[in-house]
Subunit: 458 residues, 2 copies
């Protein structure tokens, strides 16, 4: 039997299978669309059973499999490297159970973050992980251990995954984790799979932890005359016992791109940098925390402490922060970088980036999650030719990643490694750790059919 016949025997619905040249380019890439792979079949899976049957077949025939959520990743994690089958989860997007009694909801992995957030909030609950891209799938969020703005107070996706239904490379279906809060019962397979970028197993269902919805939330914009005072104030904010939800930083020159893009103006254009803080909880608690932080920042050189006067103004402030990548992209192609450094090294790292961009003449727009050391850079192509861009980008990025590692940092805080960051990750990661990762990979996926040559997989 041919490959096509085999696939159609497993997926008994032709409308959910596309072969070869019929596969649209966007399914062979990530959200940036620059890296494009090849595949022999694209299957829109409808059930765990189908995924299991596909993997069993693929494993027996050593066919590569690329799981795909909403394809919003920025690092080429959904770019098929060896042909084979793309399993798309967009049709597996149901909420299977809402269980207020255990503070959990169980969903299929293809559900979009925004749909899940809206659902739980309609029930008076809250799903804290809040990555910028709300159209990502929950399965994708788990595969990259996505972070987001609220990580300072609430942690990252890992902290909200109670259990996962997964399909192993050989087609076995099992659950790792459970609705239980505590677990000291054998190896934490769940935690191993979270953040593994689809290299160990395919996630089909997710039990997610939800919490009661905070009653009240307030954001504040804090301008500083220089970046250094802004960043060094972050630690004082974190130490003040005021439990901030988000601690974002953005340089004035970056805000200007956002202002131009949106037509919105930030106050204090004379500032060199801003901190953008959010606090949530009970009203009195938030008000008390705001007072504490007001004192902290003003004692540390803040030019002002601006609480947006209306919900509309608040939305405007966040709109500028939210549009930065798009604002850069409106001017040029850009390479998104998602480094993380220890929180006391953010200022030194940003300074290094600022010096480097001057030295090498490549614009690197920096902003990000100061409260957890997660620095986003948009590295701007400008008018470079394809060849120049490729060569110069790699050279400059090697230098930037190397500095981050020298400061104790890592390649990725929340986007994952995928294809795009693999070169830097393999270069900077200790050989022992790479060997451990690859030994584990081989132990669970002996024929290396799952997302091979992605991330750490040699």
């Amino acid at each position: 039997m041919s490959f096509k016949t085999d696939i159609l025997q497993i997926i008994k619905d032709e409308s959910r299978v596309v072969f070869d040249k019929q596969i649209e380019g966007r399914f062979l890439s990530d959200t940036l669309g620059r890296l494009v792979g090849k595949a022999d079949a694209l299957v829109f899976a409808a059930s765990t059973e189908e995924v299991s049957a596909l993997l069993k077949y693929a494993d027996a025939n050593k066919i590569s499999v690329t799981p795909r959520g909403a394809g919003t990743n920025l690092v080429g994690s959904t770019v098929p490297q060896n042909g084979g089958i793309i399993i798309d989860f967009s049709k597996m997007n149901k909420i299977l159970e809402f269980d207020a009694d255990t503070f959990t909801a169980t969903v299929e992995s293809g559900i979009l973050l925004k749909d899940f957030q809206a659902f739980v909030e309609s029930k008076g609950f809250f799903y804290p992980p809040d990555p910028g891209e709300k159209s990502a799938s929950i399965g994708g969020n788990i595969a990259t251990n996505a972070g987001g703005m609220r990580a300072v107070k609430y942690g990252v996706t890992r902290d909200y995954v109670r259990g996962l239904e997964v399909v192993l490379a050989d087609g076995s279906v099992t659950w790792v984790g459970s609705k239980n809060v505590k677990d000291a019962s054998g190896l934490s397979l769940k935690n191993l799979i979270i953040g593994s970028e689809g290299t160990l197993a395919v996630i089909t269902k997710c039990i997610l932890k939800i919490i009661p919805k905070p009653e009240y939330s307030k954001s504040v914009l804090v301008p500083f005359a220089d970046l250094e005072s802004g960043i060094s104030t972050v630690q004082k904010i974190l130490f003040a016992n005021a439990n901030p939800t988000a601690v974002e930083f953005v340089e004035r020159k970056v805000v200007e791109l956002g202002e131009k893009f949106t037509g919105i103006k930030y106050p204090h254009p004379e500032a060199a940098a801003y901190l953008l803080l959010t606090f949530d909880g009970k009203q009195n608690e938030v008000k008390e925390n705001l007072e504490i932080i007001k004192n902290v920042v003003l004692q540390n050189g803040a030019l002002d402490f601006v609480i947006p006067e209306s919900p509309e103004r608040l939305e405007e402030i966040w709109k500028v922060r939210g549009c930065l990548v798009k604002a850069v992209e409106a001017t040029s192609e850009q390479e998104p970088v998602d480094l993380v450094v220890p929180i006391d090294k953010v200022a030194e790292f940003i300074e290094f980036v600022n010096k480097t961009q001057k030295k090498v003449g490549m614009q690197m727009v920096a902003f990000g999650h100061a409260g957890d050391g997660n620095v986003h850079l948009c590295v701007v192509r400008g008018s470079r030719s394809e060849e120049e861009w490729k060569t110069e980008l790699q050279k400059n990025m090697e230098c930037v990643y190397s500095k981050a590692y020298e400061l104790g940092g890592l390649t990725s805080g929340e986007h994952g490694i995928g294809l795009s960051k693999r070169h830097y990750f393999l270069k900077e990661t200790k050989n022992t750790n790479l060997q451990m990762m690859n030994a584990i990979k081989t132990s669970l996926d002996p024929h290396h059919i799952l997302n091979n040559k992605i991330s750490y997989v040699l």
Copy 2:
């Protein structure tokens, strides 16, 4: 060369090595002392280099290795199964770095929890994990992913481990994790090793997350006329957005054992059960939360809402809660059980336990962490002969664990599996998951020298 000569060539200090029959019994057991293993050498390691050299030697010669923290475990995790070498970490107990700027402290794995807690609190910081046994080592806490009272608000040991220096079976030394807050850079080896009970690697150094010390803390005792109303109120407490630090439950009949043991009296002896709650944070916040919870519990059938009138009385209340295991042990040998069930199943499970103990005539004293479904049982031997105790205990425990799994529960919430719970864990765990765990074990420790036949290791 002989084994002894080899070991003394690695550890060039005879005062830190004990051989064969010279090894004291307590080093061959856990804190209960019932299961006793055999070993050829006990080494008090002084450095990572020594641990590395020992493992390299052991791996080359296929000699079993049993890492040992303070030996306070309750499940036989430190009972050597195949002779070989015990590596004791009690001399590797230094604080290596206190880094307020990144909210971390780096320690050797043999440091005791109580010493570490005292150290960070003296610096104005706080290490939230709070297992009952304060004389446990931090390395042991990490190996079992220890929990404790404060887990409801603060999470468990896993949530406070930023990085680990580990020695692999072949003697390689590496770091997994780092000081970074976010990490989406390859497989989470750190999270795999946490809770692995010494089966994958030996932990030598730990970077721990610390947080600013809460300003204020208040506990409250809430008596209920029946267990069911007490337990069903727990979820209402958790839903009330009042962020409790601890939510403990204890039945009146269990309190009576503690009262007898300590001479301290709880109020409301007519109650059938008590909840013991703690709140911490800023003073106003705690007071507001107490008001909220007072309303919640009184609306749900609480007999009273007793805030201990003095620090001494508070200490008394916690003393009774803290002594329960010892109170039981004063009357008879007991088997400690550390089951976990989803939080909405605690009442049903306790009811089942109460019925079972009546039916089979074996006393099972239940108390525990209601806020996270972690139920502790002390199963009492009474006047049974060794043989009767062994046979009846296993039969009754099979029944209890089976019920817990039926309710979606797990063998252990915080003690780990070790030797004592292995029978039940292997019986209840899905074969696919056991296979995954054992495949990973073999990938990292091909000769199975580390804690073999412990926990999940087949």
